[in-house]
């Protein structure tokens, strides 16, 4: 049946185009991740906490009291900002 061939060819071209533009695993062009406001706040706070814990542990190891804590809290807050930016980017695309 000719229509079925055309349909499968069109599907194949659509799939190739999607792969080209990096939309291979999306539905309607959006990666479906549901987030709410509390979720974003928890992401930010948890990455700052992880930075604090890593900095505190490294300080105990190297015995350099405020330096590692300061650096890793800053790194943790940048990481939290990056996580939030990624999640908002996906939602608004």
């Amino acid at each position: 049946m000719p229509h079925r061939d055309e349909l499968s060819k069109a599907e194949e071209r659509l799939r190739q185009l999607k792969l080209q533009h990096g939309l291979a695993n999306t539905k309607n062009g959006k990666k479906v991740v549901s987030i709410d406001a509390l979720s974003i706040a928890i992401d930010l706070v948890s990455s700052i906490m992880v930075g604090l814990v890593i900095g505190y542990w490294l300080d105990k190891f190297f015995d350099s009291k405020p330096i590692c804590i300061i650096i890793f809290v800053l790194v943790g807050s940048l990481a939290g900002a990056k996580i939030i930016w990624q999640k908002l980017n996906i939602k608004n695309r």
Binding site: A24, N25, K31, I42, G76, A79
Partner: protein
């Protein structure tokens, strides 16, 4: 006479079992976890006992849940995500049943305990790590270096990515526990108002509690879905590396 709204989250030992210094008592939390497992197993046993091509309603509901989990994995990971269906399915059903069993009056919400949710989240974290190393070998570490970065920025980016990677189990566990705890505390506090403000407001807090319980059931289902879909997204990082 005031009820402490945090009393409902106390884990009480029902049968004290002490294994060589380790406390492995049977608690009220364990009762509800066992009940959740029993309900899941019996539901799927009765739904899929007689498999028909034109399914019965119970079979349709069970198949819908399976299709949802497979769809989640297909969307996030792609075709190679099919092997994770048992893992994500078990995780989703367990969290869903534990959340919903906590809505029954006088019961205990299992997932309100940060220890339980952290255990689940650390399981997802280690699954991502181990599967990432098995599937990709040593090039799994390229997940810490995003593409298109100038090379002088690389050390800072690696630290930032490492922090974001380690924050995943923390945020997964806190998100689930905080949502359940907040909802239950709110219901308990408003219910306290029903008793103490009965002269001024009569029965006014009661419809509010009905609405809050409805909303809390919605939050229970939604949080189970969010937990499962975020696990799928993290598995995608392990399997597909960006």
């Amino acid at each position: 006479m005031a009820n402490n709204p945090l009393d409902q989250f106390l884990v009480k030992k029902l049968v004290t079992i002490n294994l060589d210094g380790f406390d492995v008592s049977f608690t009220n939390s364990s009762v509800y976890m066992l009940l959740a497992g029993f309900i899941i197993l019996s539901y799927f046993y009765f739904a899929l006992r007689v498999e028909q091509i034109v399914p019965s309603r119970l079979q349709v509901s069970a198949e819908m849940i399976y299709n949802m989990v497979t769809g989640m994995l297909n969307q996030s990971v792609g075709q190679s995500g099919r092997k994770f269906v048992p893992f994500i399915f078990t995780l989703f059903m367990f969290v869903l049943l534990c959340n919903l069993l906590g809505m029954i009056p006088y019961s205990f919400a299992v997932t309100s305990n940060i220890v339980v949710t952290f255990g689940l989240a650390i399981m997802v974290f280690f699954a991502v790590l181990i599967c990432g190393f098995i599937i990709n070998g040593i090039s799994f570490f390229s997940v810490f270096l995003p593409k298109g970065m100038p090379s002088w920025l690389a050390p800072l980016m690696i630290l930032i990515e490492l922090c974001a990677f380690l924050a995943r189990p923390v945020s997964l566990s806190i998100r689930l526990a905080a949502n359940i705890i907040a909802g239950h505390i709110l219901i308990k506090v408003i219910a306290g108002f029903c008793v103490s403000f009965i002269i001024f407001f009569k029965f006014v807090p009661i419809p509010l509690i009905v609405i809050l319980i409805g909303f809390e059931i919605f939050v229970a289902i939604l949080q189970a879905y969010i937990f499962a879909i975020l696990s799928c997204v993290y598995l995608n990082d392990a399997v597909n590396l960006h």
